[in-house]
Symmetry: C2
Subunit: 302 residues, 2 copies
């Protein structure tokens, strides 16, 4: 047991996966959960994401020694304002938001000096969302990135032990650096996937049914990413604006260079480029961050 | 048995998958294969992709009643020129190239009037390539698109039966329409994925190791597509230039609109857009073209 009482604020994919694993492995004495919607709270209870639910966040954090904010980034400020006065002295507050600078600015001012604030970002998820989506293996071999605002190494070590007990690896870094790294590895790819799927949807000459029917040539991979939770991703882009726009600017520049190579028939440039990108995939597989199986091992759909 | 003798010209992922399935299910009396490299021919024989190999394409097509061109699109013209004089009268020639207009222009002039030319494009593949990459289930529930240049319905029906015996569905369409459809569902997504991976590789402030380590947030999906065969894809873009550039132009326009929404903080526009794209994914799953399992069902990497 690492904490006596953990409070989950928000009960979607990430909170659900944390709750299931914490309860299965006995990592906390009690898991208390809350969500704005009564239906979500009911589902969370029936799936066993937490031991009990409360109607408000203020109630949920009573006597909790760890509070995990699992709401969209845009909702962090209001939640922090609500729970701030009710936190137990000495408690740790963390979150699972995909951007860190904006969360620090939104949450930090609402927390007292007697609370340890250790923002975190698990690099894990699926295209599914809501209280039905979580599963206890979600964090296996994934990374949790911490951007600690607390100087208390005991509190940081304790939270690190929890994330490791979920199966994850843990790194710490500065918040702005975090936001740039994930702009490259997550935010820009998501916006690009959303865009390509939107373009395909718009095309009237190519009917929707053809786009769907013939999607196996690569497009269907993009649709998985573009099926992610709309509220979460709206908030990510609005709250990591500068880094995302910077990476998209570089992307557009590079795309124009490749378009020009196609237009002018520069086969050598294309071949050299495509050979270089192939090597990145090998690095990711060697780092244990993806499967080496062809086509993600998904095989023939039934 | 649908054909007496099938000749596979080129012995990579697609040819290998055809050969393995044809031989396993006895769909032809004999499968003859050829490839430029002796090492490829040896691997093909040892994996049982064909019954025998020949050193030249001209030899391979001797007495074949079906010839399948499985070389990169840029190599089609030279191969057609080589085999043209050696084809058996009444034989069918097909191919598996990802563009159809350019292949028709490259191959058609080399074929006699006594040959049935039925270009085809299987919407199937993986990021792996070469004679080791094929497997007999590759075409299960995938589409073969035909752009027939022969008026002989018996020849078309016979070839359709072969593709169906591989587990595939078959549609016919006009070549230019084909090239536009696949520009949307395959060619533009591939170029975009190559570009995003190239951008990540270039970034010096974000080291390569960070990009690789933290790739699970979405980026790793792009690297799978961007690991596809460089020669094949160079030829695809050079030979479907107009349709690809047109779709990329629309993509850029749309990307700029989303970037502006991020810059101006237009959350409603982003939310509406992301909600719409989510529906496309559902359509693809309902059409049996992808798995509904979270994260392609790949689970936690070992």
């Amino acid at each position: 047991m690492i904490y006596d009482r953990i409070a989950l604020i928000g009960l979607g994919l990430i909170a659900g996966s944390i709750g299931l694993r914490v309860r299965a492995d006995g990592l906390a004495g009690e898991v208390v959960g809350t969500a704005r919607s009564a239906a979500t709270r009911d589902t969370a209870l029936s799936r066993g994401l937490c031991d009990r639910v409360t109607a408000t966040a203020a109630e949920a954090v009573q006597d909790a020694d760890l509070v995990i904010l699992c709401v969209p980034v845009g909702a962090m400020s209001a939640v922090a304002a609500e729970i701030g006065p009710h936190l137990k002295p000495g408690a740790t507050v963390t979150d699972v938001g995909s951007v860190k600078r904006a969360v620090i600015d939104a949450v930090g001012p609402h927390l007292g000096d007697d609370v340890h604030f250790i923002p975190a970002h698990p690099l894990a998820g699926t295209e599914h969302s809501g209280p039905e989506a979580g599963f206890p293996e979600l964090f296996e071999n994934r990374w949790f990135l911490l951007t600690p605002q607390s100087e208390d190494t005991a509190a940081i070590d304790r939270l690190t032990r929890l994330w490791q007990a979920l199966g994850a690896n843990v790194d710490a870094m500065e918040a702005d650096h975090h936001d740039l790294v994930v702009a490259v590895t997550s935010h820009a790819p998501h916006l690009i996937a959303y865009t390509m799927v939107g373009v395909a949807d718009d095309l009237r000459r190519v009917t929707d049914s053809e786009v769907i029917k013939y999607s196996a040539g690569g497009f269907r991979d993009f649709t998985r990413i573009a099926a992610s939770d709309p509220v979460m991703w709206r908030d990510v882009f609005l709250n990591n604006k500068d880094a995302t726009l910077e990476i998209l600017g570089r992307f557009t520049e590079e795309l124009f260079a490749l378009q020009r190579a196609i237009r002018t028939g520069d086969g050598d440039m294309l071949h050299e480029y495509f050979t270089r990108t192939r090597a990145i995939r090998r690095g990711i597989i060697e780092a244990g961050q993806d499967t080496a199986a062809a086509d993600f091992g998904r095989g023939a759909p039934k």
